[in-house]
């Protein structure tokens, strides 16, 4: 008798679907934008971005290059987000993949860096370097990301980036530091990117220094947090012991 309701529950698809996808398990961590046709067209369109900017023109040209009719754009516009935003998001996803490819090269100097925070700083700088070919169009692209309607998708991609950076840097935190580190990395990335937009120094030297400073501050903050935590713990235990000793005395 007991089995029936249990089995029925298992058959109900939406619930079981929701409960089985755990994006923090690596096997469920979906590489975004990997659906076949739409993302292929978008990825191909990125080649035109340095010339035309984040503009539907890039998609039109790609579709024409592929010898498909113009009407194929419907598969980009079908869910209601603008082609400009779609391109920008795809661009972010591609650069995130490029960053991964870059550090997986055996000859990458990344492997010689031991310290976690130096690695973070290296990764952010590498990622910002990937912005250089499209830097003059980037202001427009970023403005697409902050349109309220698209904000959740943009934030998700930002989180994916900081998550990747923290992972590659060798983050082993298993408490609230997990969150604070990712939030710290995200905010450093966003502020450095905004700094980069107005940076006129050669090879974005100032931006790189800016990143180093910010990451150093994050490190200091982390140390300060850990010290404060230790100090707090020590005092709490002392207090307990003090009370106990007083009680034993009667």
């Amino acid at each position: 008798m007991l089995r029936t309701p249990v089995r029925r529950l298992a058959v109900r698809k939406p619930i079981s679907l929701l409960s089985t996808i755990r994006s923090y398990h690596s096997r469920d961590h979906k590489i975004a934008g990997d659906e076949p046709l739409e993302s292929q067209i978008l990825t191909k369109s990125l080649e035109y971005v340095p010339t035309y900017g984040f503009n539907s023109n890039c998609i039109t040209r790609t579709i024409r290059d592929l010898n498909y009719p113009d009407s194929l754009q419907a598969i980009i516009s079908k869910d209601g987000s603008s082609p400009e935003f779609k391109l920008m998001l795809q661009w972010l996803i591609e650069q995130r993949k490029n960053l991964e490819r870059e550090i997986k090269q055996p000859e990458s100097e990344f492997h010689n860096i031991a310290d976690e925070y130096d690695r973070v700083s290296y990764l952010i700088k590498k990622r910002l370097e990937l912005n250089e070919p499209v830097i003059k169009h980037l202001t427009f692209g970023i403005s697409q990301l902050v349109i309220p309607y698209y904000l959740s998708q943009s934030m998700e991609e930002l989180h994916n980036l900081s998550d990747d950076i923290a992972f590659f840097a060798g983050d082993g935190s298993n408490d609230f530091a997990w969150y604070s580190k990712r939030m710290g990395i995200s905010s450093i990335y966003v502020s450095s990117e905004l700094y980069q937009l107005t940076d006129t120094s050669k090879d974005f030297k100032n931006t790189k220094k800016f990143v180093d400073d910010k990451v150093q501050k994050l490190n200091n903050l982390g140390n300060a947090y850990n010290s404060a935590e230790q100090w707090g713990m020590f005092n709490a235990i002392s207090l307990v012991n003090l009370i106990r000793s007083q009680l034993v005395r009667g």
Partner: protein, 294 residues
């Protein structure tokens, strides 16, 4: 005397015959050669005729009824559908699009698509073929076409009486965009209709369908069902003096496959269905399905 009563007198004077006599025919048959006509089971050979009867009898009041029944929302759905497709020849191209609007009857979607293409992309070269199985509905569309700005002697719009399951006058690989709005539900064999769509589209062509669908949320569905089964046939009776046709409409909506099922039928016809595959409108009362022939 009310406006409503005047409408009913007018439609009666047009000589529209009630459908009941046709419906009673064959309602008990069963087996392989049958299909559903609303909640009734009829011979496959007869469904086409019966649906023809419904649309011949509603043709003249079609828009008034749609507005009344959906409270005007069908216009929003249609314009949303057109915007989603965002079709049109982009500036700088030399390859005009060939549109095909199936079950296009009154031409709403056809003119809407052409208008969108011209307004947004300055496209005045793409051509439109409107087909419908029902000559009466098509005549309504042609009447509107005569009065519209598209009737400029350029022959961009063409009207054809065609069965959507065969499309025998439309060549293979000849169209870029296939649209069907609130039509595929009435096909005797929906899969055959999808297969025909696949056949006539060029590689890279888009199949787009706007159709009534099923509401997911049970509470909203309850209200929706109550509205459609008790009020719509009554409105049909009062406004168009034709209860049976509107009874058929609501029953056929209920019988139409659910979103996921219809999506897999589109895939079965050979189309590539992009992520998610459909978009629900107004809680799923209607939905937009898209497929691409690769």
């Amino acid at each position: 005397m009310s406006q409503l009563a005047r409408y009913s007198i007018r439609s009666r004077s047009l000589g529209l015959k009630p459908l009941t006599s046709q419906l009673r025919f064959n309602s008990n048959s069963s087996g392989e050669n049958t299909t559903h006509f609303g909640f009734k089971t009829v011979n496959k050979d007869d469904k086409e005729k019966l649906v023809g009867g419904v649309f011949s009898s509603v043709a003249s009041n079609y828009d008034i009824m749609n507005d009344a029944m959906s409270m005007g929302v069908h216009r929003l759905w249609k314009s949303h559908f057109i915007n989603r497709l965002d079709a049109g020849m982009r500036p700088g191209s030399n390859r005009p699009l060939q549109f095909l609007d199936v079950a296009g009857g009154t031409g709403d979607i056809a003119f809407g698509l052409l208008d969108h293409a011209e307004r947004k992309f300055n496209d005045v070269n793409s051509t439109m073929t409107v087909v419908d199985i029902n000559a009466d509905m098509l005549r309504e569309g042609e009447k509107r076409y005569q009065a519209s700005k598209w009737n400029d002697g350029s022959d961009r719009v063409q009207f054809l009486v065609q069965n959507g399951e065969q499309l025998d006058q439309i060549e293979d690989n000849s169209k870029d965009v296939y649209t069907i709005a609130f039509g595929i539900r009435n096909f005797t064999n929906i899969q055959a209709g999808l297969n025909a769509a696949y056949r006539v589209l060029k590689p890279g062509g888009i199949f787009a369908c706007l159709e009534f669908s099923q509401v997911d949320n049970p509470a909203i569905d309850y209200i929706y069902q109550a509205y459609s089964f008790s009020i719509l046939p009554l409105m049909g009776q009062l406004i168009a003096d034709d209860r049976d046709s509107y009874q058929y409409l609501v029953e056929s909506i209920r019988k139409f496959p659910k979103q996921e099922e219809f999506k897999s039928m589109i895939e079965k016809a050979g189309f590539y269905v992009p992520e998610k595959g459909y978009e629900n409108l107004t809680f799923g009362v209607a939905s937009i399905h898209i497929g691409v022939k690769l």
